[in-house]
Symmetry: C2
Subunit: 481 residues, 2 copies
Amino acid sequence: MLTISIDPKSREPIYEQIYKYIREEIKQGNLSCGTKLPSSRGLSSHLEVSRNTIDMAYGQLLSEGYIESVPKKGYFVCASDTLYLEGIHIENNAREDEDESIDPTGEPECQIDFSLSGVDMDYFPYDKWRKIMRDCLMDDNKELFLSGNHQGDSSLRKAVQNYLHQSRGVQCRISQIIIGAGSDYMLLLLSRILEGVQHVAMENPAYKQAYTIFESLGYQMTPISLDDQGIRMDLLEASGANMVYVTPSHQFPFGTVMSATRKGQLLAWAAKEQNRYIIEDDYDSEFRYFGKPIPSLQSQDPFDKVIYIGTLSKAIAPGIRMSYMVLPEHLIEVYQKKAAFYFSTVSRIDQNVISQFFLQGHFERHLNRMRKVYKTKHDMLLQQLKSAGIPAQISGESAGLHLLLEFGEQVKEADRVEKKLLEAAKKEGVKVYALSDFYIREEERKPTILIGFARLKEEQIVNGVERLKRAWQNMPLQEED
Amino acid sequence: MLTISIDPKSREPIYEQIYKYIREEIKQGNLSCGTKLPSSRGLSSHLEVSRNTIDMAYGQLLSEGYIESVPKKGYFVCASDTLYLEGIHIENNAREDEDESIDPTGEPECQIDFSLSGVDMDYFPYDKWRKIMRDCLMDDNKELFLSGNHQGDSSLRKAVQNYLHQSRGVQCRISQIIIGAGSDYMLLLLSRILEGVQHVAMENPAYKQAYTIFESLGYQMTPISLDDQGIRMDLLEASGANMVYVTPSHQFPFGTVMSATRKGQLLAWAAKEQNRYIIEDDYDSEFRYFGKPIPSLQSQDPFDKVIYIGTLSKAIAPGIRMSYMVLPEHLIEVYQKKAAFYFSTVSRIDQNVISQFFLQGHFERHLNRMRKVYKTKHDMLLQQLKSAGIPAQISGESAGLHLLLEFGEQVKEADRVEKKLLEAAKKEGVKVYALSDFYIREEERKPTILIGFARLKEEQIVNGVERLKRAWQNMPLQEED
């Protein structure tokens, strides 16, 4: 019979004291493999506890595999050649956690950051957003907590379809739209769908995140230079790529628009072979300051070759994590077979809030407002740069949330000049960005600095440009060594 | 000079009328490639509109690539061999959309569905959830709309770490935790991290979604039969697999617990070779009705071989789309190199709401409540089944949200018998599930029906079992043809 000292005053339940005692006895080998345990009736009267208590303890040991039950014979200690593993169990937990809040680079923060990412949240209609959220949950809306359509709720896809049609000319059924948690996820999903695509061409310079993702997915990658109309068709043809990733409405980072001629050539290129595709990344087409929006390439594609990807990261906020992808009809069939089993990656509540944000007109109003806000900042930045007399050509000024400053003539090592410009700016407490960061492969070109304005206030823009002027005045731009 | 008839009363802005006229002239070939357009000054006086209006129209044509600007010479029509593509433009939109609300299978719905998916949302603390959401957004919390940590906000990971440590014995630093939008996404991400894993073994029967995902990702797959202790080690060794996906704390769908012996053997198996891993899917360990929770396999792993995956789909709700993965230390290093660039797939607001839900103790209270709610349903279902005299052995009753009914003896074509049982139930308006749905490869076994109870009310359980009794009484279970 087991002699277990039970402490009835312990906060630990009695069954647990018994369970732990027997577990330890087994672990330490005092109860060896095959040993029969006392019957629960016998042990209960021996320990003067209820039989139920013993049953609970035995049940726990059973469910963890320490003992086994042999019908009509009783409980036996299991073979446990590997039970030593349990020694390093649960208890020794308290490893100290690293403090992740410290900036890993250890660099001092610049006072003014002409950041290229992020949006201005000062004008976000928080009250509307809160109200929609409240309304969504007001009736204890159970529906929103259940699994939804894998492509996204149809009301949201309907709203996205309307928006894309009206503002981007995108033509599609809602069955062609897939909602997902960000553009990175969209590319992951796409890699599950596309058959026969092994080689991806990208604009050079480009949105490097997409390059990194494709590369990590094992695709052969070729960067393609641009001319003044867009991606160079001769290089694309010669590359042997069967997919090309482009930003036709607002080349990232140059801010140029692909010419209608080049768009046609690109579509014709894709039409030539069955497994050729174009990914149109329409990442910030919402913010044009002059004329109407450029219609999307998708809207001009008669060949069903364009995979359209858009995001709410710029139009609403990056923390939202929502993108949409419009697949050509025949790829939706492939999706149905090869990837439709993946559950949606966007929570139902978020989907509902955003579809209401669209339906109630807040999205459009917000965009119109932000276009004005950004235009004001944009114009002010432009005017400040011009009047400061910074010795650079300004480009990329018709749309988007950043400008480019080109310094001097084409040189072989533009990145070295850019580095100098960055360093000089940093000494004045200003962070700006080098075009070289966006080149997959360097080219002979004009040294170019990128300055974003979305997150800066007007006085910061004025102050930042003053500092840049100080930083860059009388700076020798040519190599002298 | 262009003669454009302008309608000053039109709601269409004048610049747009001019833009459209010229665009059409170019498209139809009336203005051919290389044609010089009138100067904006000339055209403005000709048409008696402001020069700014002409500049806007030209600007739009420029940005869409219809015309080009040659410095000091003027505007010229672009070469446009492919402009015909634009013919099928934007206008012809109104394709009717399919109505997705219709059930594609066209089957009449059963009155009582002993569904295996979903949760009971009647007891969800909606008021608490709403309050947390409101508080999160109350101060126009801009932070929540910006991009966050790619692995998930550290406050959320801290909360998950605490929870996993206390309730599952999981030992990890927060730097080992990755938050993602559902377990499917976690497996996708994992496939980007694991090097040298080509062959995945799974329990048979299993959670087939994981099987489908691994298969679609190109892994060689081997289903492994179970014995009463868990996955069969002899078959696993012989398979040549270097990763195994298991549900040790509550085998899905059998509901059994892997024995301590088998856990040790499994860990020892993984330790034998460098590229061997164990994925522990701890999908519903929250709901045990007897004894303490079974400690996770991860908590007993001295070899850093267990990749632990859990989800909030059962503990909170499937619509939430949040899972967590705990990687061994050395895999976090690989993650940093190979996949850390993927942005998080969970919105910052959701992350914040859930971390508050944890921190304020609502999660624990909710789980305790749901454990009682489900236990009541579970006990009632068990008691109803027993008293109905349904000729089946009941199993899987110590935990989880479903029970298994085993009919008769082992037979070769258990799936055929199950089909009969399903059909008979359906005639009585009851939907139950066949174990064959979860077999990757069929085995000689007892015909088995699965019945879930999470979403049914108590009276539905009573009514459902009555119907099952009618459906199955006097049903010949052996093949007679």
